[in-house]
Symmetry: C2
Subunit: 221 residues, 2 copies
């Protein structure tokens, strides 16, 4: 992908402890390759956050105060999103940057954060299949699609869905040749060995086991 | 996924500057959810490495000397692999841990590192489609498949192929119910908006443009 030196597009990816790493890294791998893209990982403090499985930290190069006018904001999900839904500085930052973005995006339970900030009221949105129903608590309409667009709000289903969302966004931002070149660079021709990636296609006993487990915890994977 | 407290399986993921983040994070998201899995990100120095696009650092919790007997080793690819192919401490570590692993694995150009360490001689292996031919320089047989198994050596094609590889490995290690539960948790039901993830299916002019660009650089994406 050739970079146009005259065009700059800032993409802010929110970070927080116990986020799911792939929610952020999947879209990053795609969007960061767009011409003129300048990605910044932003969080409450510079340094690093620890992702949900505990073995991986992601760098945080900028504080919320450092990033006030991104062109695109991306909010990943993960168990840590639960605490953040009551964190006024984060919700306030989301509202402030959303006022200036071209695209406000989320992956997995990140859409619950956008919803808690009041940004999804009356809008259609995706989320992780186990958490999707909670969007209604914030006046949003849960949609069981992998990627949902409502105006400039682009939300993806669980974890890996962020890759598909980012490729669609790459197409809209830079055209099909750029999007397809990024897909070819990342060799994204998926061949999952099973068809269990959705509750509609996974074995019923596994779907039920996950639903039962989620009833007994506050887990929102 | 329930964790069996009595069973421990150490999975070492090699890190280095200018590696491709998704090569490591895709498989991590899958393998880290296996019962008993203990993932450690290992590198030349504790701290962090900066991935190839420059905007993301990954934590490094252990040095090469700290990790001597992992059950599984995973070697990601990325442009930084080029320098590492002449780095004797890294190659020596790969040889030493490989002597004790149950599985030695790679994503993307990570297989070139395994090959440079002398571990793939006479073996079939996958790599990024633009770099695959270089495996022959080390006596390995390049295979144009997404995931290639040769004994305990499991190698994946470019970047995103590591997710598919990890799901297959999850199946072999823990059975189809665990593997499918992980696939359902990460909602891995891919819907790429294009079919450009492989040189066999991408538009010819884009494949040719990438081939031409790779001839003029040492880039091995």
């Amino acid at each position: 992908v050739q970079r146009n030196q005259e065009f700059r597009m800032q993409i802010a990816i929110l970070t927080y402890d116990r986020m799911t790493a792939l929610d952020a890294v999947g879209p990053y791998e795609v969007l960061g390759r767009l011409p003129g893209a300048e990605v910044v990982f932003v969080g409450a403090r510079r340094g690093a956050v620890r992702t949900d499985q505990g073995s991986l930290g992601l760098s945080v190069d900028a504080t919320l105060a450092d990033v006030s006018r991104p062109d695109i904001v991306l909010v990943p999900g993960g168990p840590g999103q639960e605490d953040l839904m009551a964190d006024e500085p984060t919700l306030d930052w989301l509202r402030r940057v959303d006022a200036g973005t071209d695209w406000t995006t989320s992956v997995c339970t990140g859409s619950l954060l956008l919803a808690a900030a009041g940004l999804m009221t009356g809008r259609r949105a995706a989320s992780h299949w186990l958490a999707r129903h909670r969007l209604a608590d914030y006046g949003a309409a849960p949609v069981a699609d992998r990627v949902v667009r409502d105006g400039k709000y682009l939300t993806a289903a669980g974890v890996s869905a962020g890759i598909d969302m980012a490729l669609s966004l790459a197409d809209w931002l830079a055209g099909p040749d750029v999007a397809q070149t990024i897909q070819l660079t990342t060799e994204y021709a998926p061949q999952p060995p099973f068809h269990a990636g959705s509750p509609d296609t996974a074995p019923g006993h596994l779907v039920e086991a996950m639903r039962a487990a989620s009833r007994h915890t506050t887990l929102t994977p």
